[in-house]
């Protein structure tokens, strides 16, 4: 099993979710995040004093899935989230050794069906 973590712009999340639903991927967990990278932060101003906002807002989507599905999911993410502008985000793939469905105690593949 693999864990796919996608760090994306907040505004594309709904599009991504719908695309994944079409692929038959229902299970996912999301987190609010903030990040920096090649894309730089912004500036704000308050009472004439300016300040930096070095991070930009991001959403992290985590999906645990069977190995053979990772490629199509990655493609779906790129399709839904790539704009071509710096700051589109990253996908990280890492190994998951076991999965348990809390409700039933099922393990492994069964747990994410």
């Amino acid at each position: 099993m693999k864990k796919i973590e996608a760090i994306v712009r907040p505004e594309v999340f709904q599009t991504l979710r719908e695309k994944l639903v079409h692929l038959g991927i229902n299970g996912l967990t999301v987190f609010e995040a903030a990040g920096c990278g090649n894309q730089k932060g912004k500036k704000g101003a308050f009472r004439g004093t300016s300040y930096e906002l070095p991070l930009v807002s991001r959403i992290k989507v985590e999906m645990v899935t069977e190995e053979h599905r990772t490629d199509e999911i990655v493609d779906a993410i790129i399709e839904a989230c790539a704009t071509g502008e710096v700051g589109d985000g990253k996908i990280f793939i890492s190994p998951i050794e076991d999965i348990i469905r809390i409700r039933s105690g099922e393990r492994g593949r069964q747990a994410v069906l």
Partner: protein, 460 residues
Amino acid sequence: MKKKILSITALGSLVTTSAYAAPVTAESVQFSLDTMWVMIAAILVFFMHAGFAMVESGFTRAKNTLNILLKNILTISIGSVLYFLVGYGIMFGSSNGFFGTTGFALSGVEDVGFFLFQAVFAATCATIISGAVAERMKLSSYLILTVLMTGAIYPVVGHWVWGGGWISELGFVDFAGSTVVHLTGAVGAFVAVAFLGARIGKYEGKKVNAIPGHNIPIGALGVFILWFGWFGFNGGSSLAADPTLVPIVISTTLLSASGGVIASALYTKIRFKQIDPSITLNGALGGLVGITAGTANVSLIGAVVIGLVAGVILVEGIRFIDVVAKKDDPVGAIAVHGICGIWGTLAVGLFDTANGLFYGGGAALLGVQSIGVGAVILWTGLAVSAVVFILKSTGGIRVSREEEITGLDYAEHGSNAYELKESLVSSSSTGNSAMSGSLVERLDQLGKSAKKKKVYKESV
């Protein structure tokens, strides 16, 4: 309001003859009392601007809050100064038939108290627009429109109805301004919204999306403040501390607003299966706008009925504007001030205890009321259309798509209405700062977009 104007300007001569040092007579004391009552009422009406500011910021999104607050405080400020310099003269100066032409900057005007009361009214009319155009209209365009509303468009309406103009001559009854103030503002709002278009994401094909407000408690507070101020709005329009009139005006105002709340609550329960809190709060405003024209002319029972009807009309009115007419009015200003304003004006024709249809007075008054409504819609519609059309053709009236998605607060002012997280921001590369790009607020700033793979540049 017209009739009383005469009596006060008649008494107005007292100001010079019976100055404070002059002998105190029962007449002079009554005049003092009248003046103080109108001042107190004007102060209450002023406070309605706090109510508008809270309603409008509470019922829109957090990312546009500073902008809407700014629009509100600038409206009362610009409105007051403009009405002082120009508006009052157009409204109450000696008439050229169409508008007044004297009294600019109050030159030659003695009754400063009357001016004051009228000035806070003028700003009220203008601020109605700010709610409807919220979250997308350029601040600069909005301000130009405000200047013209308080300096010219509204004063002309006021001249016709309260300044001794042609509509008043027909016998048109609009005691405190269902038409003069509220309908005028709402027509301006409707026209501005029509030119502006809806907020991004409001309408998608056939779908109508909900864009809930971000802070309903302050919106509710705003409603209570408006209701509170409205006692001054209607009560002060008597322009005299008349013990036979003011208690009735205050009572009809209370009862109609109550009726509006009750009806909106019940009717949303029937219509949508659950009571809608946000519409119920609007229900109070619907009842208030509804009673404003007839507050001195209907019975207490009449007031309850006018309010109940306003509460139902309001619900359907909001749905109509939102779903059928597809005019995106974030705070429901057009339904509250426009549709209930028309209802209130016509209701006088029905419920006026002297001349109303239901009291055996025939349909004559109803006819006159309709003419007044029609005339105000026509004039305001045309005038505002002209203004907004010109503004739109020259530079545009709407912020850019990117600014709208980011939120006007950050885009136009570089700031936010609520605190960001301290720990995530630095104000310099070397120092820790006290500000932060909150995870949470950022989400609000960015919103969603990007259906078509187009994402705005984030660097500002």
